[in-house]
């Protein structure tokens, strides 16, 4: 894998907007075929990074390539290799769905692209709306059209900038099935999202950005192992707990008790001690560590 030419390569990227250092030396390599997640709070630099890859923004320092093509020097090849689904729900109200796709495909110099246009419209459930003006499409359909526009030139690398923000559950699910399908066919996917469970389910590798810096970059599995703390929440009959446990248990405002632990044996001891003291457990909830915990943790420490 280290031998292969990365699908996306960025090194030492810096970008300043006025007083804000949007990117402060970002370096990343994304290999062909990866489903890569880019996470970070608002203003972390995710969109700036994507904009530099897409040629919408020019970096102050550093460089970026897409499929080996420099995004500035060799912008034509770089842009042919890249399909971008922008974050904003934008459309051109002058045209209908088919015209929009035909024109977009023309921008890439593609003449006879009707077959592929029909195919993507079919896969994205846009076929029955082909002759509708883009203005009359629902928000979800506009989002699908943006995805279709990003795919008209069959780019090997697809970048999705928060594609599921404000999208209903059904569409989100079908969108992910579609994108996962593209990934299985060999497309490299770079995704930014605020839905961490989404990133956890889809991305093989994740980078976390904070204030324009990469603060973590690893496989999703390794990242999840960074936090080994489980959490149990207990509702007990009575207000007291055994004296030996008072320091370990946190009493929450709603009257429940909480304990963080790394070994299940610890939880077993607690339950045995409670039973021994004649305290009945009315309710218990277990919380497994997820990407959100890791994310919160890393953001706090970084």
């Amino acid at each position: 894998m280290s031998q292969a030419r990365p699908a996306i390569h960025v090194s030492g990227l810096r970008k300043r907007f006025g007083a804000t250092q949007a990117l402060d030396g970002v370096s990343l390599d994304i290999q062909p075929g990866e489903f890569f997640g880019l996470l970070g709070p608002n203003g972390a630099g995710k969109t700036t990074l994507i904009s530099i890859l897409a040629g919408l923004t020019r970096a102050d320092a550093g460089h970026a390539t897409v499929m080996g093509h420099d995004v500035v020097r060799d912008y034509r090849q770089a842009r042919r290799a890249l399909g971008v689904v922008p974050q904003e729900l934008v459309y051109d109200p002058f045209f209908n769905v088919r015209e929009t796709l035909r024109i977009q495909s023309g921008y890439f110099g593609l003449k006879h692209n009707e077959g592929w246009i029909d195919e993507i419209m079919h896969h994205l459930d846009l076929a029955q709306h082909a002759d509708k003006g883009t203005q009359s499409l629902s928000g979800g359909m506009k989002r699908r059209l943006l995805v279709a526009q990003a795919l008209v030139h069959k780019p090997p690398v697809i970048v999705l900038d928060e594609p599921t923000a404000g999208v209903d559950v059904d569409l989100r699910r079908s969108l992910w099935e579609f994108i996962s399908g593209l990934n299985r066919e060999g497309h490299t996917i770079l995704l930014t999202t605020h839905y961490l469970e989404e990133a956890e389910a889809l991305c093989g590798r994740i980078a976390m950005l904070k204030s324009g810096r990469v603060v973590a970059c690893d496989t999703t599995r390794n990242l999840l192992q960074l936090t080994s703390e489980h959490c149990a929440q207990l509702r007990l009959d009575g207000d007291a707990v055994p004296a030996t446990w008072q320091a370990r248990l946190q009493h929450d405002a709603d009257g429940s008790w909480r304990i963080n632990f790394s070994e299940y044996a610890e939880l077993e001891t607690l339950l045995a001690d409670l039973r021994g003291a004649g305290i009945r457990v009315a309710e218990m909830q277990l919380h497994e560590p997820d990407l959100e915990d890791v994310f919160t943790d890393i953001m706090k420490r970084a």
């Binding site: 934008v90 977009q104 023309g106 110099g109």
Partner: protein
Amino acid sequence: MSGLSALFYKEMLRFWKVAVQTVVAPVVTALLYLLIFSHVLEAHVEVYPGVSYTSFLVPGLVMMSMLQNAFSNSSSSLIQSKMQGNIVFVLLPPLSYLEFFLAYLGAAVIRGLAVGFGVWAVTLWFAPLQLPHLGWLLAYALLACAIMGALGIVAGIWAEKYDQLAAFQNFLILPLTFLSGVFYSIHSLPPFWQGVSHANPVFYLIDGFRYAFVGHSDTDPWLGLLVAGACFVAISALTLALLRSGYKLRH
């Protein structure tokens, strides 16, 4: 289809889909000017010997309509795309800044010519057809539309809001066209204002274009062609430099 022809096609389709607003409406406006001014002035004004006021006015109106609509086409297309955010659709593909320029310019020229032709066609009822210098007509029409099309690109890129574009249009384009001899010959002006008019490039466009219709002009049409050509080269160079630098389009 190359990227250039796709963008040109898109720009053409854009104005053609709303042709009532982009072609028919300016023709009607020009017709109203013609009806009012020729009604009021026909009997009182003879600018050149043997040329009726209506015949004098028609080329001015045709040129004014071409100028305003060529400017409108590129500037409003760009500001709308910027405001709605769909400008990314043309920024993401592998289009060069030269292709970008030529596509927007080409469509602006076609819209200007279409409106100009429309105005001329409806005024045929009022002024008999005469066209002694077809070559001059084409040269001036093309140059005028190209100058304003390029200027429209600059304005569309520069403006960040609709009212900024409106200011550009109301405080620059409109005075330049109205004060350029559309409705009068600058020889009727006091010497100072004649001098000022000579500094207005639009004056040369209207004067030279009128020469193609009536065979009379206030200045030598070759001089006008030189001025217009120099204007086009200068504005194009500015536009290309802006596009190349990514000014207000690529941050």
